[in-house]
């Protein structure tokens, strides 16, 4: 159970935390989550021959697949992380961020970056082909040919400037703190540096400075670092913040927290080339990446042990406390996906599963099953505190959880299994169509798993809208008089 009265310290907190800003980031994130899910659904329907919108240029599944991934990475995850950071950093450091107006400027600028990315990817190629003045441009208005970095080249400098401002804004309060920092702040500090460096390296070097195999090596580093050095440290940093608060006890072992952070910091950046095994990238570099990847799994194990040992004695919270259930389900998926990673990164597995849906299953498990689920848990916990209103329907919160977690489990299992089939079809030298036809059952199951996930989010959107309406109605009441906060858990 969450001690709801203690969680409400309106006066002190409101000076530190700009609740409207946090809520705005979360709502923006959810809008992009919706867009990303619809885009994914379009691609899923295309693969099973059910796409009702065939042959429409602006709805081309090829372009919308890029919207699917970019909307989740830069629209949902980045926005939701920024919202959560605006809650966690001032409360951890007991200092506000550098400037409130800068924060709102960053908010607006980031929405511009993400929307411009989407427009560039979808409308850019059409404009360029049909407007004579644009036809002879040497550079493309549309996507950049870099996975997870499809942001058109003309937006990259803006995005990078935005990341710099984010770092400055949050580092101001953190740098004023004295003495040893809490675990969360290690992850955040490092993430600000890493995200900036990763974005610059990945978006500029392979485009302007390098071609071919070495560009491939940098591309691999970029793909991996984006997950490992932007999403992962922010995600774990938030877990180290929210889990002890919700369980009302410290982490089990500070030593393991140290091992987890420094192990990740050292080994994670060395993994990138494992995305391109068996390419012409020198073999000794591929071996190095594989060994570092297995090392990361060892580190991950220590983190998982630390969190589950912290839960020990409070296991009942999994049932009663919905945010904690979101967090720990995400951690179970994290352990699974990391175990999967330790296997798939070996050359033995790669020979079979590279280029198959196995990898697609892995990506969904990481991006949705782990980090999106954690952020959904954080939102479930925070929205009532941001709007000083309990959830409209705790039952819909449960539906949101079960459809998301269940849909994800089915989708990941289905795609991973489908990937094994595809790998064997290819190795058998059967005609290519055999592998496509053989994938159909898996792709059809994926459509329904996707529908479950989409349904879960619709429950959440509706619940959120109704809660917001109630908060407007309650608006005039003083905070102390507001109904008890929180979800079904409370």
């Amino acid at each position: 159970m969450i001690d709801t009265q203690r969680a409400t310290t309106p006066v002190a907190d409101d000076l530190l935390v700009d609740r409207r800003l946090v809520a705005s980031y979360f709502v923006a994130a959810l809008v992009f989550m919706g867009i990303s899910l619809l885009a994914g659904m379009l691609m899923a329907l295309q693969l099973v021959h059910w796409n009702p919108l065939r042959g429409i240029e602006l709805l081309s599944p090829g372009r919308w697949r890029m919207i699917h991934t970019n909307a989740i990475a830069y629209g949902f995850l980045a926005n939701a992380f920024l919202g959560a950071l605006h809650w966690a950093v001032p409360r951890l450091t007991l200092r506000p961020v550098l400037s409130q107006s800068l924060s709102w400027f960053i908010f607006a600028a980031w929405q511009f970056v993400v929307l411009a990315t989407a427009l560039g990817i979808v409308v850019g190629p059409t404009l360029q082909a049909n407007v004579p003045a644009l036809q002879n441009l040497r550079w493309s208005l549309g996507a950049q040919g870099l996975e997870w970095g499809e942001t058109p080249t003309w937006i990259d400098p803006l995005a990078l400037a935005g990341l710099l401002l984010v770092a400055v804004n949050f580092m101001a309060p953190i740098m004023q703190a004295t003495g040893p920092l809490y675990v969360t702040l290690w992850y955040f500090l490092a993430a600000f540096v890493w995200t900036f460096l990763t974005y610059a390296m990945g978006n500029f070097l392979p485009q302007y400075a390098l071609a071919g195999t070495s560009a491939g090596a940098v591309g691999g580093l970029f793909i991996h670092d984006l997950v490992g050095l932007f999403v992962t440290p922010l995600g774990w940093g938030l877990m180290y913040y929210f889990v002890p608060i919700l369980l009302r006890k410290p982490m089990w072992s500070h030593a393991l927290s140290l091992v987890g952070f420094w192990g990740l910091a050292f080994f994670y950046p060395l993994n990138g080339i494992h995305h391109f095994l068996y390419t012409p990238i020198p073999m000794f570099l591929q071996h190095g990446a594989i060994i570092s990847t297995v090392a990361v799994e060892m580190v991950v194990l220590t983190v998982i042990i630390n969190f589950f040992a912290t839960l020990r004695g409070s296991g009942r919270e999994i049932v009663t406390n919905l945010p904690i259930r979101w967090f720990y389900t995400g951690m179970v998926y994290y352990a699974l996906t990391c175990l999967q990673c330790a296997m798939q990164t070996t050359l033995t597995f790669q020979a079979l599963i590279h280029f198959t849906d196995w990898v697609v299953g892995h990506a969904h498990l990481v991006m949705f099953g782990v980090f999106s689920m954690w952020l959904m848990g954080i939102m479930t916990y925070l929205f009532p505190r941001l709007w000083h209103t309990p959830w409209y329907s705790p039952a819909l919160c449960e539906w949101h959880y079960w459809l998301s977690a269940g849909g994800m489990l089915v989708m990941a299992t289905d795609l991973i299994l489908g990937g094994v089939f595809q790998g064997f079809y290819w190795a058998s030298l059967a005609p290519w169509e055999v592998s496509v036809d053989g994938s159909q059952p898996f792709w059809i199951v994926r459509v329904f798993a996707g529908l479950a996930i989409l349904g879960g989010q619709i429950c959440f959107f509706y619940n959120l809208y109704m809660t917001w309406r109630e908060s407007r109605a309650l608006g005039a009441r003083p905070l102390e008089a507001a109904a008890p906060l929180g979800t079904a858990a409370n």
Partner: protein, 218 residues
């Protein structure tokens, strides 16, 4: 150091990142620094396989070709290649088609020689198009395997040529009919025919003869 700002920022943030960048990115850069990066013009200049296909396009779709590219010169071919690559990237082709043959899983038997570094040292591999997923087959040995009009029909409606294909349709690469590829369509076909055209084993290889001479013989 382990829990303080300077340690986290300098050692973890900058130091480990720099170490990874040096060992994983700078090392291959240094290893391949002697392998020159070819421009698109250089790629076209010595590539008679590609010029053969480009001229075939001008012969097969004369009106369209005249309107969009004029004459099948090497300059126009380089232009078509650059645009073709742009379409390949912006339409997301590279998310369902890879461009490298691995030395495992009997890929040599299916597609041809294993990919080598020198094949990627050129302007059109910026960023490199290794790819990430194969819903459709690998394309780095695709050039010359099928005719230009096969590709035209296939881009217009993939099921016309491959019944099981879940590939989307691209009617906007045409002026209303599969035998009328527009500028983008012609460019994309040129790009696909280029893939692998630098190899001895280009399947549709014929001794290159400029178009004017070939027509005279007929």
């Amino acid at each position: 150091m382990f829990e303080g700002k300077s340690g986290v920022l300098l050692v973890g943030g900058l130091g480990f990142f720099a170490f990874a960048f040096l060992s994983n990115a700078v090392v291959p850069m240094l290893m391949y620094r002697d392998l020159p990066e070819q421009t698109t013009a250089e790629l076209v200049a010595k590539n008679s396989n590609l010029m053969y296909q480009f001229e075939e396009l001008s012969y097969r779709y004369p009106e369209q070709f005249k309107q969009h590219f004029g004459e099948p010169t090497t300059d126009q071919c380089a232009e078509a290649l650059r645009l073709g690559r742009q379409i390949y990237v912006s339409e997301g082709c590279w998310h369902c088609h890879s461009q490298f043959v691995r030395p495992v899983s009997r890929e040599e038997d299916r597609w041809g020689p294993v990919s080598a570094t020198w094949e990627y040292q050129n302007e059109l591999q910026r960023p490199v198009m290794f790819g990430t997923r194969r819903v459709g087959p690998d394309l780095c040995r695709e050039g010359g395997r099928r005719s230009n009009d096969w590709h035209a029909a296939h881009f217009y409606r993939p099921k016309l040529t491959s019944a099981a294909s879940p590939m989307p349709e691209y009617p906007w690469l045409f002026d209303g009919a599969p035998d009328k590829p527009n500028r983008r369509g012609l460019a994309l076909i040129t790009y696909v025919q280029w893939l692998g055209s630098w190899l001895e084993s280009y399947p549709d290889y014929e001794a290159y003869q400029p178009l004017a001479e070939r027509l005279k013989e007929k």
